[in-house]
Structure formats: structure tokens, C-alpha cells
């Protein structure tokens, strides 16, 4: 996989035009503003003028409506006592908001509130640790100038992404176990004299969110840097040169050029992810959670699996799905609004 320098230059040259505007939020904003006024009006002439763009977008829009929005009639299940044996959705017994009331205030109400908190806790921690970790790693990798070495590093760090969660959970539970069971974390802590006796990590509720975040970080760190590294390629190298001429050091360049350069990517990913905060990874709490720590371990998805699917209670699963969707849209909307206020890249 050695590359002829010539083709590199061509490839990179091809990228060049993309580089400039990302660099400065101010200029982008100016451009947006300039376009704003005429854009407001939707006139027949404009529609005609944009018929090519419409031809590109409208069929796909209809496609998306058919495949994603039409099936949403299935949410009716949330308002029914759904039993597959009764035939299709129209033949079911309607129960109004009973399922919602049941979930939020019923016998499981207190428990449900707790699993929401757990989901949020695990998820926010995972997102923060994961994002910071990926950005730092991308910045550090960017400082590696030996290309083959850098490639090998990248190829290795993204590998854990391909291990299944069953295997990762298995590895994590061994790593966290007693030294006699292969628990190397305890071994390391003891040999460094940080602890005297081995710690039973998976019996202490307060460690669990951290364990989830740490395991996620390990598995997805390399994978998550991929987008940031791609974004870094889009930064105009002349900016670095100019900065060097101004006498900027390595850290100055990192913070003043690289980081702002990938900011649109960071912001967009953060907004997107903010909506998935209630849709955490299911496997870790499922495989690593146990009775002693379930008060911190159990998440919405685990709860829904056990009280929904396993008991054939489809309605409960749909109610939880609707709840997650509503929360997601509120969160994404707020994050998007916040980004707009700060003149950052937005989703919509």
C-alpha cells in the first residue's frame, strides 16, 4: 500500500477547494446572511428554476416517507392491549393511555424512573468520555509524522470495534475480576500499591457507570476518530504555514487551527448524539449487570426487554419507544437551537 507521491498531490489538490470556508465561522455566517433574504420567498419561478434540485430530493423524500413515516401507524399498539393472535392492528382492544400510565406511575413506575436515570448517567458519561477521547486521539495521531507508523496505529486502534459485545463483555468481566481469575486491573492496582486488597468492581453500584463508559471508550475510541481524522484532512495546510510564520507552537496550532477546523464535525456529531442519549448500548448492562448493582446498572432497554419482549408485552415496548423518541426530539431540538445561538454548524 505504498503510494506514489504524485497521486497524493492530485488527491489532495482535489480536496483543496473544500478547505477554505470551514476555517472561519465568521465568513460562513456572512455568507449565510447574504443569502437569507431571497431564500425566504417560495415562488413558482424559484420552484421552476430549482426543478433539478427538486428532482434529486423529492423522490427520495417520498421514499423516506413510505419507509419511515407510514409504518408509524404501528404506534397505535401503544394505545392497545396488543395480542398478535387477535389479527391485525385494527382488531385490537383499545385501552387509551393505560399503558403509559402503567409505565410511568404503575407498579413499575419508581423502577422506570430509576432506569431512566441510569440510562442518562451511563449515556452522558459514555458520550463525554468518548467524544473527548476520540478528539484527543485524533489530535495526537495527527502529530505523528511517520506515515506507516501512523497507519499501523490507526489500523490497530479501530480493531476492537469489530469485536461483538458478548466478547467485549466477557473480556471486561475477566479484566475486572479477582487476580486469581485473570483480573489484570486488580493485579496492576495491587502491584502499584494503589490498593491493598483486590476490588470486586462489579459488586459496587457506584463504579458501574464508569465501567460502562470505560468499556465503550476502549471499544469505540479508534473507530470514533475516523470522522475527525477525515475532517482534519480538510483543513487548509497553508493555515499551519501562516501560523508557523507567526511563530505559533505545536499546541497553539492544535488549539487555534486543528480544533476549530474540525469543530463543525464535533458539533454536528454532538447534536446527533444528544438525541441518542436514551438509546444506550444494551449489552453491557445486560451482560455485566447483576443483582448487587442493578440499581445503577439497569437501563431502559434492559427493562423493556425483560418486561416487554420476554413477556410478549409489545405495547410496553412501543410505549418505551415513543417515550425515547419524544425525549430524543426535544434534546436534538435544544442542542440544535443552542448550536444556532452559538453560530455553530446545525443539523437543520
Amino acid at each position: 500500500m505504498t503510494q506514489a507521491p504524485v497521486s497524493n498531490v492530485v488527491t489532495a489538490a482535489g480536496l483543496e477547494p473544500a478547505l477554505e470556508p470551514v476555517s472561519s465561522g465568521a465568513s460562513r455566517k456572512a455568507r449565510k446572511k447574504g443569502l437569507k433574504d431571497p431564500k425566504r420567498k417560495i415562488t413558482w419561478d424559484r420552484v421552476r428554476a430549482q426543478r433539478a434540485l427538486l428532482a434529486m430530493a423529492v423522490p427520495l423524500l417520498l421514499y423516506q416517507i413510505l419507509f419511515k413515516y407510514v409504518p408509524v401507524y404501528g404506534w397505535a399498539i401503544a394505545f392497545q392491549d396488543y395480542k398478535p393472535g387477535r389479527g391485525n392492528i385494527l382488531n385490537q382492544e383499545w385501552v387509551g393511555f393505560e399503558n403509559f400510565v402503567d409505565l410511568f406511575t404503575g407498579v413499575n413506575g419508581e423502577r422506570f424512573r430509576r432506569v431512566v436515570v441510569n440510562t442518562l448517567g451511563q449515556s452522558v458519561l459514555t458520550l463525554v468520555v468518548g467524544t473527548v477521547g476520540a478528539i484527543v486521539l485524533a489530535l495526537l495521531l495527527n502529530e505523528v509524522k511517520n506515515l506507516p507508523f501512523k497507519r499501523v496505529l490507526q489500523n490497530i486502534t479501530y480493531m476492537p470495534h469489530f469485536l461483538s459485545w458478548v466478547i467485549v463483555a466477557s473480556l471486561a468481566s475477566v479484566a475486572l475480576s479477582l487476580p486469581s481469575s485473570g483480573g489484570f486491573i486488580n493485579q496492576a492496582l495491587m502491584s502499584l500499591n494503589i490498593v491493598q486488597d483486590p476490588v470486586l468492581f462489579l459488586t459496587e453500584p457506584n463504579y458501574f457507570w464508569g465501567i460502562v463508559a470505560g468499556t465503550n471508550l476502549w471499544k469505540e475510541l479508534g473507530w470514533n476518530t475516523i470522522l475527525y481524522l477525515a475532517a482534519i484532512t480538510a483543513i487548509d495546510p497553508t493555515q499551519y504555514e501562516a501560523a508557523e510564520v507567526d511563530g505559533a507552537g505545536r499546541y497553539r496550532k492544535m488549539f487555534s487551527i486543528t480544533l476549530p477546523g474540525i469543530m463543525p464535525t464535533i458539533v454536528v456529531l454532538l447534536i446527533i448524539n444528544s438525541g441518542w442519549i436514551l438509546s444506550t448500548n444494551f449489552e453491557l448492562p445486560y451482560f455485566l449487570g447483576n443483582g448487587l448493582i442493578s440499581e445503577r446498572a439497569e437501563t431502559i432497554d434492559v427493562f423493556v426487554l425483560r418486561y416487554g419482549y420476554e413477556l410478549g408485552n409489545y405495547s410496553l415496548a412501543v410505549v418505551a419507544g415513543i417515550f425515547k423518541t419524544v425525549v430524543a426530539i426535544i434534546l436534538v431540538g435544544s442542542a440544535n437551537q443552542a448550536a444556532k445561538r452559538l453560530n455553530q454548524e446545525t443539523l437543520v
Binding site: 393472535g85 475480576s177 470486586l200 413477556l311
Partner: protein, 553 residues
């Protein structure tokens, strides 16, 4: 969709059964319904952990050659079946034969299956008719969602002749053979919890390490879905058979036992043993993998479990030649109680094949099940082909060579020479064939003895026993309703059952691992948590099920 199409094309022929040629031999269908001259494609949907047979499978070839039957498989593993059943029912189209293992009988209640009573009454299906004759009430659906009647032909535990076999797969407090050997093969009658732990304690004191790793006294698996290792003992200790979460008295009244004194006594002992260092502190965090690895390492002296659950670990120890680290079942009980650990195998009335309501050839599909239940085909499916997969001794008994046994253990070989997924779901001639051979090699007494190692032989001689089953109680006649654990529950009762399980999983580890001084407080908290659950709903549902069985079975 494919099922429908295949059904049509296969149905073209039967109106004019010209040139029906019935092959010679006892594998052919003498009624002429399924013959090579009128080929039939039967679509099947099977819940099974087994694989699709290989393309070159020899039994597949035999089916075509003798019956003209081509099978099309759709095999869904138990892990995935919940989702698949949901969408299949919504879609309303099913293959000819539907093989389900769903405890909640969703396919049946969802109207996916045909009632079979009338079809069996025609007399066209003699093997099936005989098979269900004695137990038709047990096998019949008695719920309210569809008309009562026979819909599913159970796949396991309808026995013919004597029940044979030497290995015990049921629940027990297991102990390593070396512990008993070291203690001079003590008497195992009238075992108590105290004596059980004493044996372990003494051995551990003398052998703090096993092959360089610390010896573990007692292991407990509390991992989600297998938590019964922790919750079932109180019932067994008090002489009740495995009825799941309830104890049923002689009048057929069921009651949960989780918060009763028999449970308290057991967990108090465990708490003391934990404090004394005999119970593995990692017990409650073990995944099933880690549990298996611990047992396979050979340093765990004992545990409560069901035999089938730790097969992999036993196999691993045996293959490493460490027979003394493998386990024997013990049956500790409370004072004045007869142990009832081993029960008589119960029929899985909610598992097996049914003929789908959307099949276009239900007669042929049912005929296929009937032919498969004939003794000649049962031998082919279970033992294989004579001379290839087993030999017949002068006395007419089947035996296998070492190579044939090795083949049967080989997943790859089995894909080409067995129809495991199909057999898993078919009704079976378990027990004995009319010639005295056992239904399967594993139940054949000679096969059991031949495969015993010298160590195991010697061990058994010390106790003057010939099989592992003799180490547990002789199973008494099952109560009429038995077992309560497979009574189908209403949604509400299921939810309560789940809440009870959750309370167990959350509180019992704290009770066991807690400071003995706080045992009472921890126990009270647990009883309080159970008190907050509407247990009555669950008990009522179980009791209704028992009463219904008592009057119908």
C-alpha cells in the same frame, strides 16, 4: 410467500396418483401418500439450536429415495425467536409444518396451527394416533384463545417401554469426586446441608490450593436467566420436586416459598458459609462463561446446579483426564424430609410440530410426521444407518464402535449424517423400541458402561452403584398436575413472576454476602420487597392451572 408457492406446485399431482410405486423395505409409506413417484416438497419452520443439514446429508437423500419428500428448512434459534414469531403472526403465512418451543404458545394462540383431532380420527395416521392415545388430554390445548384440542405433537418425553440411561441431568448439590474420595467415600444417605458443607470445609482446609490456584469451596451462579441456581434450593431441601417458584401441597395448593422459613434457613446457612470463606465472593458477578471456566479449571469443590447446565465444564475436565474433578450429585434435605430431587421426565406439551393453518397440503404434512414416528425411521433418525453408524450384536442389541462414537460427537460429521434440527422437533419413540433397544445411543445401557472411565468405574464400585442416576432418589410417580413451572400464565401473572425474580436477584446476593450480624435486617428488607409485589395474582394463576389440570388430565 415461498411456502404458498411450493405448496401449490407440489399439490398439482395428487389428484391423479398415476403410477404410484411404493419402494420396498420398511422405510416406505405403504399408504402410497408419500412416494418417490409423486415427489412432495414440505416446508418446515423450526425453533432449534441445531443447524440446517449439509447439502450432501445422507438422511436427506434417504427421504427423497424412499418417500419422495424434499424438506425445506427455516430454522430460527431460540435467541431470535421472539421477534420472528411476532412478525410471522402479523404476516399470517406459515410453512407446512411449524415446530415451536414457545412456552407461551404464541403461535398456537395466534391461530397459526390447525386442530389435529379430526385428522387423527380418520385412522390415516396410526403411529401418531398411538403416540397421543394415552395422553391426549395432557397434550390438548385447553386455553381460551382458540378452540380446545390437539394442535402440537410434543417432541419430548412420551415414553415407550422402560426408561433407561445412566447420566443424571437434573438438579442437585454437586460435589467433586475427589472430596468424597478423600473423605473415605462417606455414606451419602440422609445428606444434610451441614454435612455437605462440612465435607467441603474439611477438604478445603487440607487443600487450600488446586494446581496452584486457590480452591473454591462453593460456587453459586446468579447470572440473569440462570438465577434458579440460587433460588430453587429451598424447595428441594424441603423435599418438594422442581415446581419452579412454588411449593404445591398434597391438596394441590401452590404457594411461593421465597419468603418462607425454608428459604430463610437456607440463606442463613449460605450467609454463614460465605462469612467462613467457603462461598466464592465472585459468585454474584460471574457471567455464565466465567462460571463454566471456573468449574472447568477444577478448583471448585461444589455448587448447586442442574446437570445439563455445566456439561461443557464436565466434558472439558473429562477430556483432560481429570475425572476426580468431575461431580457427583448429592441431595441434602432438612430434617425428616425425603429427598425428591430427581423427578420423572415430563412431557413438553407446548413444544413440537403442528400443521400450519396456511398449509395447502395438511394431509401430506401430517402423514410425514406419522411416517417419521414409525420405528424404522426413528432408528434411522436417532441411531443412523446400520453398519455405518452403529452395529447390531448377535443379541440384536445396537452397539457403536469407538469411531462411530467419535463421529457422533463431531458437529461437522453430524451435519452430513444427521437431521438434528428435524429430530429435535419431531415426536419421538423415547424409552425403548419393540426390540428392546433404547431410543438413542445415550440411553443404551451398554453404551453408558462402555464409555465409563476406569476412575468412574472404581468410584461407582465404592458406592456399589452402576449409574449416576442411582446416586439420586428413585423418582416417585409425578403428581397429576406436575410440573407447575410449565403452567401457562396470564400476562399479569407473568409480570408478577418477573418482579419476584428481580427481587430475588437483587436481594439474595446482599443477604448471602452481607455481614451475619445484619442477616435479620437484610432478610426483613427482602421480605418487605416481596410484600410489595402482588404475589396473589401469581399464586392464583398457578392454582387455577393446577385445578384445571387435575380435572382434565
Amino acid at each position: 410467500m415461498s411456502a404458498g408457492l411450493v405448496g401449490c406446485s407440489a399439490d398439482d399431482a395428487p389428484d391423479e396418483p398415476q403410477d404410484v410405486v411404493i419402494p420396498e423395505g420398511d422405510l416406505a409409506d405403504q399408504s402410497g401418500t408419500l412416494t418417490p413417484s409423486n415427489p412432495t416438497t414440505i416446508t418446515t419452520w423450526i425453533t432449534s439450536a441445531s443447524q440446517v443439514p449439509a447439502n450432501d446429508n445422507k438422511i436427506t437423500a434417504l427421504l427423497e429415495e424412499q418417500l419422495g419428500v424434499t424438506l425445506k428448512y427455516e430454522i430460527v434459534t431460540p435467541d431470535n425467536v421472539d421477534q420472528k414469531i411476532g412478525v410471522m403472526l402479523a404476516g399470517g403465512e406459515f410453512p407446512d409444518l411449524v415446530g415451536t418451543t414457545d412456552l407461551k404458545m404464541r403461535l398456537l394462540e395466534g391461530g397459526a396451527l390447525l386442530p389435529l383431532d379430526d385428522m387423527l380420527e380418520t385412522g390415516d395416521y396410526p403411529n401418531l394416533a398411538t403416540h397421543v392415545e394415552d395422553d391426549i388430554n395432557k397434550m390438548s390445548y385447553s386455553g381460551t384463545e382458540v378452540d380446545p384440542g390437539l394442535y402440537i405433537i410434543p417432541n419430548y418425553n412420551r415414553f415407550y417401554g422402560e426408561i433407561t440411561g445412566g447420566t443424571y441431568y437434573g438438579p442437585a448439590f454437586w460435589i467433586q469426586k475427589r472430596v468424597l474420595e478423600d473423605a473415605g467415600y462417606p455414606d451419602l444417605e440422609n445428606m444434610t446441608l451441614e454435612r455437605y458443607f462440612e465435607l467441603i470445609e474439611n477438604f478445603k482446609a487440607e487443600n487450600p490450593e488446586t494446581e496452584g490456584i486457590p480452591t473454591v469451596g462453593f460456587e453459586l451462579l446468579a447470572s440473569t436467566g440462570r438465577e434458579w441456581g440460587m433460588t430453587n434450593p429451598p424447595a428441594l431441601l424441603s423435599g418438594s420436586p422442581n415446581n419452579g417458584g412454588v411449593i404445591v401441597d398434597e391438596d394441590g395448593n401452590a404457594e411461593i416459598y421465597a419468603d418462607k422459613d425454608i428459604a430463610r434457613d437456607f440463606y442463613e446457612v449460605l450467609n454463614e458459609q460465605y462469612d467462613a470463606g467457603l462461598v466464592d465472593p465472585e459468585s454474584f458477578t460471574l457471567t455464565f462463561d466465567q462460571y463454566t471456566a471456573k468449574l472447568a479449571a477444577g478448583n471448585v469443590l461444589g455448587m448447586h446446579d442442574q446437570g445439563w447446565n455445566f456439561q461443557t465444564a464436565s466434558d472439558s475436565l473429562r477430556s483432560a483426564g481429570k475425572d476426580e474433578y468431575t461431580y457427583v450429585p448429592l441431595m441434602p434435605v432438612y430434617d425428616g424430609v425425603e429427598p425428591w430431587y430427581a423427578d420423572r421426565d415430563v412431557m413438553n406439551t407446548n413444544q413440537g410440530f403442528g400443521v400450519s393453518a396456511s398449509s395447502e397440503q395438511p394431509e401430506k404434512a401430517l402423514k410425514f410426521l406419522d411416517i417419521m414416528l414409525s420405528e424404522p425411521w426413528q432408528k434411522v433418525l436417532s441411531w443412523g444407518i446400520e453398519g455405518e453408524d452403529y452395529e447390531v450384536g448377535d443379541d440384536g442389541m445396537f452397539v457403536r464402535t469407538e469411531e462411530q462414537r467419535a463421529n457422533a460427537r463431531d458437529l461437522t460429521w453430524r451435519a452430513s449424517n444427521r437431521l438434528e434440527a428435524l429430530l429435535d422437533m419431531l415426536p419421538k419413540h423415547q424409552g425403548q423400541f419393540s426390540d428392546g433397544n433404547a431410543f438413542s445411543p445415550d440411553d443404551q445401557p451398554t453404551e453408558f458402561f462402555e464409555t465409563l472411565t476406569d476412575y468412574d468405574r472404581g468410584f461407582m464400585e465404592q458406592y456399589d452403584k452402576k449409574t449416576w442416576r442411582e446416586f439420586v432418589n428413585a423418582p416417585p410417580e409425578n403428581p397429576k398436575y406436575y410440573p407447575a413451572w410449565n403452567i401457562a400464565l396470564s400476562d399479569d401473572a407473568n409480570q408478577v413472576n418477573q418482579q419476584l425474580t428481580d427481587a430475588n436477584v437483587q436481594h439474595l446476593p446482599k443477604i448471602i454476602a452481607g455481614d451475619p450480624a445484619e442477616f435479620d435486617a437484610n432478610w426483613e428488607a427482602y421480605v418487605g420487597a416481596i410484600g410489595n409485589i402482588d404475589v396473589q395474582v401469581y399464586e392464583d394463576a398457578i392454582n387455577a392451572g393446577i385445578q384445571e389440570r387435575l380435572s382434565n388430565w
